[in-house]
Structure formats: C-alpha cells, structure tokens
Symmetry: C2
Subunit: 360 residues, 2 copies
C-alpha cells in the first residue's frame, strides 16, 4: 500500500455497522477507511447510481477505478430500507441537489434516530430560500423525529476520493456539536485517514461549500493563462487563492463560524486540493478558455461529470446577500465569478475589475 | 504585454530616484514596476553579481532572461557610492547571508537617513544569536545614525521575480510602521504590481522567512511521491500546506505578529507561490528523492542556485526555540523538516512521525 501508515490498532467493539448513501466518488471512497477499521458497510446507490452499483458487483468502481473493499454490501436504489437495516450511523454522500429527497427517504426508513454524517457539500433551496445543507436537514429531521435532537456532522477537509480509495495519506475534519458523533468519528480514523473534529459546524460546512465555488476562480486563471503563459502566472494564482480564503473567512464569520476553521483544513486545505485538480477547477478552466458557464457545465455533463461549484456559486452569492454582506465591495472575487460564469462582460473585463477592486 | 493592466496613471512629482542593492532575481525584477512608474533606478550588484551586471549591459539578465528596462543605470560592486548618490530610497535585495555586510556598507555610504525597503528574506546571525533581518538592521543602523529613526519596510507577498519582470499580475505587501514609507510604497504600484501595506512588520517578515522553510516540506512531498504516485498525493500536499500556515501563525503570534498576516498574502499567498515552483521547493524535492540536505544544497550550488530555506531552516528552528515555543509538540512539521534535512532518521520515518504527531 502506498500511503504512509502510522495506524495504531484500536479494537472497535462491538462491531459497528454503517450505511453510506450515495455511490459516487466520495461515498464509495469512504468505505475504504471504514472497512480498514472493521466497520461493516452497506453502500446504497441512488437512482442515478444503479449503473455504478452494478459495475461494482462485477469489478472496479467505474469512477474510482479500483474494486471496493471485499466486505462492502451493495444496495440498489430500490433497496434503501435494506441498506439502513440495523445500522449504527448513516453517511450521506449524495449531491446537494439530491440531498433533501434522499435524506427525507432515509429518515422515513430509519426505525430510530441515528447519527448522520454528511459528505454532501453546497447549498439547497428549501422552503423558498437558499439554505445550508445542515439547515435543511434540521427542518426535515424535525418532521420525522419532533422530540429528538439531530446527531449531525458536516465532514470537510482536503479529501480527493481517488486518493482516499488508494490509502494515500489524507486528513479530514468532522464538524459536530455532539460528543457521541465526535467519539464515533474517532473510531473511523486509520493511519492514512487522519480524523480531526471541530465544534465549528458552520465553519466546516461553509468552507466545504464555498471552496467548490472559489476553485472555479483558480480554474479560470488556468484557462486564461495556462496555454498562453505557462508557468508565468503563479503570482496571480497565489493572489486569487489567498483572496478566496479571505472571502470564505468573511462569509463564515458573518454566519457565526470561525475564521480559524477557514484558515485550516476545511478552507485553505480543501481549496488547495480542489484548486489543484478536480471538477470545479476544470469547470473554471473551460470558462477561462472562452466558454460561457452554461456551455462549460453542459460540456462536462456530456462527459458524465458535474461541477458542484456551478450551482453552489449561484446559491452562494444569494447566501452571502442574505447575510447582508455587501458582495461587490467585500467579496470582489465572488463578484468576479458571478460575472464570469453568469454575466455578459468579457472575462478580461471581469478579471481586470477584480484586480482593481481588491483591497483598493 | 501579457498582464492585465488596470493601472491608474498618477503623476509622480518630483521624479523619484532609488537604489536597488542586489542584482539577483528579486532586485532586478523590482526595477520593472519602478521603471514603469517613471522612477529612476540605480541597480547595484554585489561582488557576487559582477557577472550579472556585465551581462545586463550586453543583453538579457542572465537569470530573468529578459533585458532590464532601458532607463536602469547599472553599478558594479566597486561602485556602491555612485549607486547611492542622490537617491530618495534604498531597496535591499541581497541574500540573508549578505545582508549585514551590504547594509553596513550602504549606511556608511549614505549621506543621510533614507527609507530602507528590504526584499531580503530569512534570518541572520548577529551578535552571537539568530536575529530577524529587521532586528540586525536596527542595531547596525543605530551605530551609523544614533539619533534617528530607521525608516523600514519588510516586503513580502507572492512575487516570483520572473513573472514580475514580465508584467504578469502580481501582489505584494510592504510591512512598515512609517507613514512616509507607506506613502512611498503606494507610488510604486502599477496595474500589474498591486501594492498593499501592513503595519504588522513582524508578521510580514516572519512569513517571508518561514515560507522558504516550509516550501521545502512541499518539495519533499513532491520528491517522495511525485514519481511513484503522480497525481495521487494532493490530499497529503494540502495537509502539509495547511499545517505550514498553521505553524507560521503560531510563530508569528508568539513573536508579536498577527495570524491574519500569515493567513494573507505574506504567508498563505507567498507559500503558495514558493511551494508551486522555485528553489526551495526544488531543494525539498531533491531530499524527498533521497539526497541528504547537504547533498541537495551542493547539487543546487553546482547549478548556480541557492536554496535560502536551507539556512533559514537551521536558523528558524533556533528562532522558534528562542521564542520558547515547544518545537516538537507545537511545530511538528518544522521538526519533521529538521529531521529530514539535518537528521539521520530515514525520511519515511520522519514523515510518518509527523503524520502521527499532527493534532494527535
């Protein structure tokens, strides 16, 4: 195994059983450290994942390109109830668009209140306004278990799924206010899956959502400069990266989170990974090379890939405005992104305006 | 010109004249925005730079690979007095090893107290202990101008010299407590040389010094994993990057600086550039691929390149200990670097120990 293992063997008794909802990149990848820790995993695929689940039964996971760990039990979209039978906790790893529907179905199928560990990143539209995933979850939960407390973790940090699935050294942060969930998170740690916990759920969740948005900006730099001036825009890229972290901290603090979370693994760390490689960076690159936001989105959809940052950008700007942050003045990079992805101004104009507005 | 220009034309009257001491990468690069702003520049090369100065007289700068701006006046090592004649401010851009000697010579040749803007990054050994560049400068200055105040800026931020010399968009931070120096810094700004100022001189200076140290750690990741597992260690790289920023913030705060400076352009931003490309990253890469610190340093020296981080690492650890920071416990990445560069433990052991100690 390629990762540097510093695992301390701690017996997990009694044997835990968890359901992972969503068989895309991240849901499937998290089954690796879980299985390594002896956790029994039920992996359930949504109605969009039936092809993936089928392929996993025959061989390698079609996105991760490696077979899932031997003990993972596979469940197709029609088998949610079976996947949730007798489990101790539920990971949710569907897209932000699918979150509310899947979470509602899962709650209906759950016989008791279970810890919910969510890998879903972004925003959702719920009850007519843009909401954090955790906010929508809270409302949906109350309908089902009106007198109980949601046991919740928002999971963040710099985790590329393909690397986690190959046991490369990885760090993650579980944001939770529940000591039960915190202890649970600790039992998932392996030598190459370093688990940190934070009580700043807001900071972890907003970092995870906005890093997808801001990674687009780094991709735009790559698209604008990468071909014409290779190796000659590190200064710009570093400026944009730093500005992104700064703006994420402004947003998180305004929402009640902590800037130190943004400056740590969930913000700086996850943006670093996302901006180096991945779908949101790629989406930005297509825009930087001349496509409109819509064209770039459709181009990737045709390849079977989704840039979460596209929806997160639209919702994220609304979210920032709902917090009464003057977006144009305090979040010039987010403004630039809005203009570049949805606007009519030529990209050079948006980038120039951004550079002029920054800290002026 | 490739950079996005958002320059606002502001007349600089009367015409300023500055001396730049040191004709290496950074000293030579800063002559570009200065010349663009109509500042008259005297570029002086140290005794190590005579070859560079000569080459610049004939054509391209041998390191930057482009000719210097037309108006730049060149001075050889024996002509320091001429270079300082009639100037309004002095940039110092020599290595940390050369700083004390050059600064002392310059002060002796200066007829009056001039603003000193330093691009030198790192530490120096002065009066028997490890000192920040600004600390040594203060002591040397007092000998020459006992009743005056040192007008000082420590310059930081994500600036690769070759990009600055090509007018690619660049941001920089002048750390100064002097309003005179702050105003001066503002007059150097162009559309592609964005100048920010900060009163946190300590934060800017320590970020600039330590990013060279921590960039070695990112290089070590590249050397250890880049060949065997290309594109499969983004998670580790992001973890190491974030840990580096965290440790720089601990050091800066303990020294009286501000973590927000470290989380901004001088720390996060400059580390981003330095860890993507450059000599300190390269130095780390050689170590990651199996060389000892000494071998890596000599290998680069044979190519005519110096990794500032090598000396800065040795001094930096002493500096942290002088601040009474428990290095092993609070700065596990710095400890790992010390072991990897100067120690006897195999690299895998150092990296494994680091991953285990981090946040445990």
């Amino acid at each position: 195994l390629p990762g540097i293992r510093v695992e301390r063997v701690v017996e997990v008794t009694p044997v835990l059983k968890v359901a992972v909802l969503g068989a895309g990149y991240m849901g499937s990848a998290v089954t690796f450290p879980l299985s390594a820790r002896g956790v029994q995993v039920n992996l359930w695929g949504t109605w969009l994942d039936d092809g993936i689940v089928e392929a996993c039964g025959r061989g390698a996971h079609p996105k991760l390109k490696v077979p899932l760990p031997g003990g993972v039990a596979l469940f197709r979209s029609g088998e949610l109830e079976g996947a949730l039978d007798g489990v101790d906790a539920v990971f949710v790893a569907v897209t932000s668009e699918g979150f509310c529907a899947v979470f509602g179905m899962a709650l209906a199928a759950m016989k008791r209140n279970l810890p919910i560990l969510t890998l879903t990143k972004g925003f959702t539209r719920f009850g007519g306004r843009v909401s954090r995933i955790s906010g929508a979850a809270e409302l949906i939960f109350r309908e089902r278990f009106p007198s109980e407390r949601l046991l919740w973790a928002s999971i963040g940090g710099p985790v590329k799924a393909v690397e986690l699935a190959r046991a490369m050294p990885t760090s993650t942060v579980y944001g939770t206010l529940s000591s039960e969930v915190r202890d649970l998170a600790g039992t998932f740690a392996t030598g190459c899956y370093r688990v940190f916990t934070s009580t700043d759920v807001t900071g972890v969740e907003l970092s995870s959502a906005f890093k997808n948005v801001y990674a687009i900006a780094l991709g735009i730099c790559d698209g604008m400069y990468g071909t014409r001036f290779p190796e000659l825009y590190h200064n710009l890229r570093a400026f944009v990266f730093t500005q992104a972290v700064k703006e994420m901290a402004i947003i998180a603090e305004k929402a009640g989170g902590r800037s130190e979370t943004v400056n740590g693994l969930p913000g700086t760390g996850d943006l670093h990974v996302t901006a180096s490689s991945g779908r949101n960076r790629r989406f930005g690159e297509l825009i930087g090379a001349g496509r409109t936001g819509k064209e770039a989105y459709e181009h990737m959809a045709a390849e079977g890939e989704t840039a979460e940052g596209y929806g997160a950008l639209e919702h994220g700007a609304d979210f920032a405005r709902d917090l009464e942050i003057p977006v144009e003045r305090e979040l010039p990079l987010l403004s630039m992104l809005n203009g570049a992805v949805f606007g009519a101004l030529p990209l050079e104009g948006e980038m120039g305006k951004f550079l002029e507005n920054c800290g002026a």
